[in-house]
Amino acid sequence: METISHDILVVGGGGAGLRAAIAVSETSPDLSIGIVSKVYPMRSHTVAAEGGAAAVVKPEDSLEAHAYDTISGGDWLCDQDAVEAFVTEAPEEMIRLEHWGCPWSRQPDGHIAVRPFGGMKLERTWHAADKTGFHLLHTLYQTSLKYGSVTYYDEWFVTRLLVDEGRCRGLVAIEMASGRPYAMVAGAVIMCAGGAGRVYPFTTNANIKTGDGMALAYRAGGPLKDMEFVQFHPTGLPFTGILITEAARAEGGWLLNKEGYRYLQDYDLGVPNPEPVKLSMELGPRDRLSQAFVKEMEKGRTIETPHGHVVHLDIRHLGAKVIDTELPFVRELCLKYENLDPVKELIPVRPVVHYMMGGVHTDMHGSTPLPGLYAAGEVACVNINGANRLGSNSLTELLVFGARAGRAAAEFAAGGAGSANGAVLAQALDEERRLQATLVDSEGGRERVSGLRNEMQAAMDEGAGIYRSAEGLESAISTIRELQERYGDVALDDRSRTFNTELVASLELANLLDVAEAVLHSALNRTESRGAHQRTDHPDRDDERLLSHSLAFRTEDGVPRIEYDPVTITRWPPGKRVYGKQVS
């Protein structure tokens, strides 16, 4: 087995991974960096983010206001020291992106334009029309090419982290084109592999969002934090799950039930106004809007379609000019995927799994409890998003904490490149044998990857949706346990080494199953309702017992053990989330 050595390995070539790699290059130009990504960097899911990235820029805005919106939006589960660092470093990260060429939308005088966003008191969302993630990713990727210290391992799939003497020493990855596994050793590994939306059947997430980074860290002993908090975005297109950005509502779009009524007024989100009002109605936070949809459906006031119940998003009154300037992608997506023109027609939408607030447990510097392992972006949980992330905080998060993780890892790795000691190589050889066996042993198996995946997604949808209960969660837990066992009997049609996408899909399924279990157990143990985690059997927030982060540790038999860590409160004691009224 060949060994490759770098000072730093970054897993994932999306926004966080590229930002981390650039931070390493800029702080320590002598360090060699390898970016190991299962897709070409520009295919990474950052590409799909639409609405924007939050950072205070207007003179009437303040860092305190951004911090408060984030903390109250997160239902007080955010670590406030981390949020303070986040809002403080956000503006300079945005400017840095501007200097690197990001085509941010502009005001007539040439200054940056910002738009309002859900749960944000003032306009602070920087955007590149409604393709912000796309432009941000391409800008980062193209900029990363100018540093000579980065080697790109494109279409390499990471299967295991190598840990020796309590320190992360590297990883094993398969070069997909050849099917060959490599031992890759490094002084530090930065995990930036993104989210896990594909654990559910209906998601905005790309096919590649299979929780790989979470599962890799989890198996290596790094706990997963706050996994019960799964964000349902209120406006996905039925059937495809394609996201219609919150910017559509920020520009003035309305949500209508089947009677054409702006139903959010019935859910303590304010009174309807023709113009958008910040922190009110359609500009409320995502958790509350998705919960309102469920209640509206229960009242029989949603529209039934072949692809589930929907409500309507109405942006017709914005006119073609605003739509084409500010929301061109929304129009393109509706025309292409729904055969309708939002300039003239209503857009059918329903809540869709969008984002994992939880992830690999890190501190403010991206460090995990496993020395040598860092994490940033959606794969990580710092936690600045609390129980519900505000729209446009995630792109900013991957920049701020991608850079922080890069700098911290660079400092850690400066002590010397990873060396391939005997114990590490023995682990890598073990992994090579396991992968070989996965290919060979799958002959005669009875289970299909797609079959198990579908059953898992159905169980998660049923048991861990917008509203949960002990009964539903327990039933999903037993289904996933059974699927874990049946996974051992997976058959692969594909025995080839060359670009074996079925083998990768089966390894991804193993990752998804581990993530699913962490979500379910964390959700079962949290006997309260907070943010995106709503328990019908425990409808209230319980700060007395549960103003704390859940930590899921993998145990010998694979079932997670849940522990708790207190939330860090600095300046904003737990309070009530208020929307729809003038908040001072």
Partner: protein, 247 residues
Amino acid sequence: MTEPVTFEIQRYRPEVEDEPTWESFEVPCRPEWMILDALNHIKDHVDGSLSYRWACRMGVCGSCGMLVNGEPVLTCATYVTSVLPGTVRVEPLRGFPVIRDLVGDITDFVRKLERVKPWIVRESEKPLEEGEYLQTPEDLGEYKQYSMCINCMLCYSACPIYELEPDFLGPAVIALAQRYNLDSRDEGSQERMDILSRQEGIWSCTFVGECSTVCPKNVDPAGAIQRYKVTATVDWFKSLLMPWAGR
């Protein structure tokens, strides 16, 4: 409501065959399905070894370009019904070595991307504390179109020159160079000219224009190349008339 559609799919398994072959699948297609949905149906239910790339399924990641009935398209954004009636033929994009089935090798493109310095080049950097470079919506409009490229490779697949001249930088790379050349923040156009004005740069292009026709994002790489030819020609004349002015 489903309709049975016959897919003829090009297979290539380098471990078992020397040449690509064709395999036929009957797929019960729903009216709302894209070509990609049909491929996923085959992979999930019929033959898990069928190999292809896809990710976002919303036309923005650029992974799933293939030839469908001979035309380069994004399979996640092409309805099955739009290519009926008749058999649907799916092949890998032309112009790239095939790794496996519908998966082409695009390393050549990635290497060329780097050669045109697709990043902001400046003599001196403004400190972050001084804020953003001002850029009016009109300035932004100068290059915005060329910044929309998703690197899906459809233009390379459509380009008759790229197939014949392996050194040709190709439509997307030249459009990207122009994206930075036309950005009011950039000062790197002279550096980029060294590579762009060579034979393998813009001058290989005979302006067939197929690249712009197939582009799913209306980037118009052909327009970028033509525009650059004018710039380069003017520059060349200037260097003849005023050699002391430098290039």
